[in-house]
Symmetry: C2
Subunit: 405 residues, 2 copies
Amino acid sequence: MIQTAVLGYGTVGSGVVEVLETNKESIEKRAGEAIGIKYVLDLRDFPGNPVEDILVHDYEIILKDPEVQIIAEVMGGVEPAYTFTKRALEAGKSVCTSNKELVAEHGLELMELAKKKKVNYMFEASCGGGIPIIRALNSSLTADEIDRISGILNGTTNFILTEMAESGADFDAVLKQAQELGYAERNPEADVEGYDACRKIAILSSLAFGAHVKYRDIYTEGITKITAEDMKYAKELGMTIKLLADSKRDGERFSAMVCPVMLGKDSPLYSVNGVFNAVFVHGNVLGDAMFYGSGAGKLPTASAVAGDMVDCAKHLGKTVMMNWSNRELEQVDRKEVTHPFFVRIQGNREERLPEVLETFANSKVVTVPELTGEFGFVTECISEAEFEEKAAKLEGVLGRIRIRA
Amino acid sequence: MIQTAVLGYGTVGSGVVEVLETNKESIEKRAGEAIGIKYVLDLRDFPGNPVEDILVHDYEIILKDPEVQIIAEVMGGVEPAYTFTKRALEAGKSVCTSNKELVAEHGLELMELAKKKKVNYMFEASCGGGIPIIRALNSSLTADEIDRISGILNGTTNFILTEMAESGADFDAVLKQAQELGYAERNPEADVEGYDACRKIAILSSLAFGAHVKYRDIYTEGITKITAEDMKYAKELGMTIKLLADSKRDGERFSAMVCPVMLGKDSPLYSVNGVFNAVFVHGNVLGDAMFYGSGAGKLPTASAVAGDMVDCAKHLGKTVMMNWSNRELEQVDRKEVTHPFFVRIQGNREERLPEVLETFANSKVVTVPELTGEFGFVTECISEAEFEEKAAKLEGVLGRIRIRA
């Protein structure tokens, strides 16, 4: 039997314990050996809970036990997870995690440490919950040069945007509903401001491009300014609004952005609704591929952590190669990136149209019958710099959303 | 450098050569060593082609060369591919293939032989072209009990059905168009009769359920009887028609079927159009997941073969575990399987409705304004046996299509 420990008995941690217990037999078959949980580390006590007998409060016990070969770090946050992970790897134990903050911040360093110690640092659960995208990048799409990776990487915001599109309610009302349903946290900032999606696209880009993409360098815009009116215009255009994390590579340059976009029905991401996530990949020989699944939630995430534990068990003493290096790509200035923009503007359409067309040539007007005193238009494909310069000249701009083909 | 050989210089074979050349550098990085092609085996000559220098007609040369460690078998068909593969594995060489006929027929035996010889037999390209579904089943979803796997597994039929839905043309006209575009073969039987999808779902079910599912046992119905009228009714119902390969497991029993079905907009497979393929998986902890991509074509398939070659290079001397065993599951009798049916029937709706409702209680009528002298109805969810028995009582049944929720 291969012994393991679970750090953190929260939502994901209890899920990992549940998955390893529920699918014990098939996991043993696949790992080639039974996987046991010798310790669960948590500051709290859980009287009456089956984990009571294996619960410890002191990490040293786990570190010093040579029987423990694999550790699931599902605490979240950078500290103490970072210190715990480093010490585990230094002690020759493999670590599997769902902690995207830590992976985005120190993933490269921890992977290099794992390699030095001939163990593994795996983080399938950090991006896209149960969607097996990271192993696909590392082990399957290895004959491809990936030049684009993008997707809907945050279930909370996708639930909110889907609800807004379907019910016509505004952001605040739907956020409250999401919080009541447990789909959004009480402090929803990391999700709704796009920070969570930003960390995930930084991790995915690093693996896809074989470089080191820093999350702090990625322009990030959340969904808090998306209104019920925006949704009406999107519908009128036959489109929907999604929080898209998008990263493209062109030779030694890359550009990445997290922001709400309008997507048409031709996009495979158009019908990814609710708490589902999807990751779209383009490879130079593969062409287009997409991975879709539950992006969050206790069991899907735990399934990914447990899958990593099985992979660690199959690779004891050998580091599985990952294509994340310290090579840095040059980032394209956001201002150079081009797309069409949807713009909402105050005023009467007939009166203001000449001014709009003079500023944004060849724009297409869009109106929603029930919205009076304003109208919308879609610009040509222009750079962010050109858009900002021109939009500054127009009075009464109510909002703008980027459009993706 | 790790030396390899490619058996067969047809579409996929020339794609493999192209991929290994085009992405040489990134493949070397990922495999940990350069991958070279020492031989290409084909009966034909290719004067002037760059492979001319490494072309051989005699398989013995490859077999006897101890430098060749990995072989890509992309010949298709059972023989001589079966004999060639067996001899390669026996000689201690790993084999990667896109050959679904061979994998469906002898996959289990070849995998067992590979294990005995401490080499690998890999077949990512055999199902879903470039979609990395097989490695996901073997290496990622290892903490799950997969209870359902289904999908659109044949690009030719999906192209035909998409075209029929969009243009209103009938099967024969669209098949001809597909043949002209190179999306269908001159002898299209294996695709349009569902045989190709049947082999693929047998392979995927075997891996997902950890058992041995024989393709000959799977009920298979092609798309040749789907008419332009069927498409009109589907549209009226807000549905579309797809060739679905579907396999479900319930404990020690399974049921599998390949047949055209009507799918609603809620299905993630609804918007999988053209030559694209998609595989849907349900795991007991993962929940729903879907993999989408180019299902066929030279480069996507070659990308999958080359990805397997990289994996073989990373696992020289070690067999990667696959969860395909000789355990057999009991197959549920097709007659017991239940779903609603769409039925087209001759005659006047007012006149025949009482008779229809007496035979198929609680059916819902559907009519298409332009189709006179006939109408359609959707039955309750009933077993195949009950449907067949009742439908035999009604005169003038023009066709029936199963409906999936």
